[in-house]
């Protein structure tokens, strides 16, 4: 499996990362090197193995379904690059 330049652009788009045209060949090379390193996992027989879902055997903790916190709108937007009246401000998305 080899990553071509088109794949780099597609993955970058999925990841919402703007890549410069001149960086695409370098990124393709680096991704292929890393994927080449990962490739050795194919020699492991995993046919009858369950994927690991938890490193520590424990029962999923449940909590009461109730409100325990809130009314912190000011704190939540405190670090926003743009905010107004406790709302996050974004570029217009609906015409």
């Amino acid at each position: 499996m080899s990553v071509d330049q088109g794949t780099v652009r597609r993955v970058a788009r999925l990841a919402r990362l703007k890549v410069q045209d001149e960086d695409v060949p370098r990124l393709a090379g680096e991704l292929n090197a890393i994927l080449g390193f990962i490739e050795q996992l194919n020699e492991v027989d995993v046919a009858a193995v369950e994927p690991l879902t938890s490193v520590v055997t424990m029962k999923m903790k449940m909590r009461a379904d109730e409100v325990t916190d809130g009314h912190r709108a000011g704190q939540i937007v405190a670090n926003a690059p743009a905010q107004e009246d406790s709302f996050f401000m974004v570029p217009k998305v609906v015409e």
């Binding site: 990362l17 991704l31 390193f37 492991v44 193995v49 690991l52 690059p81 743009a82």
Partner: protein, 488 residues
């Protein structure tokens, strides 16, 4: 006054309780040492006003006989931990200007016990790196240098600022985090002690997320006892982190000095890797003989899937990172670069905010999780993880603790390793421990031929931290401590 910074946490604790010196004296000594050591670039932010205020509060409590377990002890905090109102950026440009309005559980536990915050410590961006060269705030310089050389060396990573600050005596101890070796590898490169506890021992709440199924907090300290003291305060069962485990936190310090007679120590043959320097292999054998001399039984064991841990890690960690780092979109916090529309704004903000290594890992993670590849990569890697864990489960039938080298080499120079995969190989001995969720400690064992610290790693059963402190203290007793000569 400068001698105050030479005290270990245990010694400083006694001096503070006996009122030999005040918490403010101790904090001032560290603040002045930090100022002189700025060339190391270990701190990205110093918080002297906060430190003095906290020290004064500690003095008031000590005067009233109410001091906590860490009362008046000055600590450095890795930039990955959210600290209320104080710079928290995971050393990334994407979190530009971020000051949380809340405190991480681990740091809150430390302040509850009376510790004093000196500042925020440098690290690889989002904890992605093994040399502290990926930080937006520049590289950290290792206080250690090769014998007869003035050339700078890296402190390891990602907790490079934590390790360098502890080794340079510009904090009494530091918080750190470990996803693939980020506590143990820098500890090994700086002659300090670092423990990554069992997954679930410390709350992850308020720690900037990298790979959630692997991330765990732990301390870096000057000796084993100090690491035990710090971990006891950092660890807790936290309702805000459902993966934190409801087990009482033991008095880890009590296991320091406990004899290792009768302890079964495993030596995994798969850790004897090609190209490992002879001096690291020799140190490993020497450590085994130290433990044997103290009455431990050395047992050869096999962990057959060891070589697959690192490639599996480079699927799991980037996959989880690509999901976790999706939140940096220029909307809720941090850097925003204007764009033609909202997607353009996202893409430009993220491209400008994330460094090269972080972008590389986001791309790998997005690729392995993309349609059609999930089973071939992520699910396969998680199955390999089951096999790695099973290797250890079998080992625990024969041994109580596993002894390995901590790193395949001593500290190297900045710029020496440019190939990403070569850099990843730094974590070859540490990453299995994260994949299996086990506790691991790095303890200095000796010096290389050119005078650099070399670390040994001990791996324990789940929640076997006490055995790690016990065994690490036995190694420390035989090896002695190692301090960098001050040149700054």
């Amino acid at each position: 006054m400068t001698s105050l910074t030479s005290l270990t946490i245990a010694q400083a604790r006694d001096g503070l309780r006996n009122r030999t010196f005040s918490a403010l004296d101790l904090t001032e000594a560290y603040l002045s040492a930090m100022e002189k050591a700025r060339v190391l670039n270990a701190y990205v932010v110093e918080t002297p006003d906060k430190a003095r205020a906290m020290a004064k509060d500690s003095d008031a409590r000590l005067a009233g006989g109410q001091g906590g377990a860490l009362e008046g002890i000055p600590l450095g905090i890795k930039d990955l931990f959210a600290t209320d109102g104080v710079h928290t950026q995971a050393c990334s440009h994407v979190l530009d200007g971020f000051k949380p309005t809340y405190e991480s559980t681990v740091t809150a536990n430390l302040w509850r016990d009376g510790a004093v915050m000196l500042g925020k410590l440098n690290m690889d961006e989002f904890a992605m790196g093994s040399s502290n060269e990926t930080s937006y705030y520049g590289k950290v310089i290792n206080p250690w240098r090769r014998k007869g050389s003035n050339a700078a060396l890296v402190p390891g990573g990602s907790s490079g600022g934590s390790a360098a600050a502890v080794a340079a005596y510009i904090c009494a101890g530091a918080t750190a985090t470990d996803t693939g070796g980020s506590i143990r590898q820098p500890a090994a490169f700086t002659g300090t002690v670092g423990i990554k506890p069992t997954y679930g021992r410390c709350s992850r709440w308020g720690i900037v997320a990298f790979a959630s199924s692997l991330d765990q907090a732990g301390p870096i300290a000057r000796d084993v006892r100090d690491a035990a003291i710090l971990l006891r305060s950092m660890a807790s069962a936290d309702p805000k982190d459902t993966t934190s485990v409801d087990l009482p936190v033991p008095d880890y310090e009590a296991s320091v000095g406990r004899p290792v007679k009768g302890l079964r120590v495993g030596i995994p043959r798969e850790y004897r890797v090609d190209g490992m320097p002879a001096e690291i292999d020799a140190l490993w054998q020497k450590a085994a003989s130290w433990l044997r001399e103290q009455g431990a039984e050395i047992v050869e064991i096999s962990l057959p899937h060891t070589k697959y841990a690192l490639p599996a890690y480079y699927i799991v960690a980037p996959a989880e990172a690509s999901s976790n780092l999706a939140r940096y979109d220029g909307v809720r916090y941090g850097l925003r670069v204007p764009g033609d529309d909202i997607v353009d704004m996202y893409e430009k903000s993220r491209a400008a905010g994330f460094g090269r290594e972080v972008q590389r890992r986001i791309l790998i993670g997005t690729y392995v999780l993309s349609a059609g590849y999930y089973d071939a990569y992520y699910v396969r890697a998680q199955k390999v993880r089951t096999l790695i864990k099973r290797d250890f489960d079998r080992a625990w039938e024969k041994v109580d603790v596993v002894l390995t080298p901590a790193t395949p080499s001593p500290a190297f120079a900045p710029g020496e390793i440019t190939d990403p995969v070569q850099m990843y190989l730094n974590d070859i001995f540490t990453v299995t421990v994260n994949m299996a969720g086990l506790p691991g400690i790095s303890v200095p064992g000796g010096l290389s031929a050119d005078g650099l610290p070399l670390g040994l790693q001990l791996i324990g059963r789940p929640f076997g931290e006490e055995t790690l402190f016990q065994t690490a203290a036995a190694i420390e007793a035989a090896a002695g401590g190692f301090t960098a000569a001050q040149w700054w």
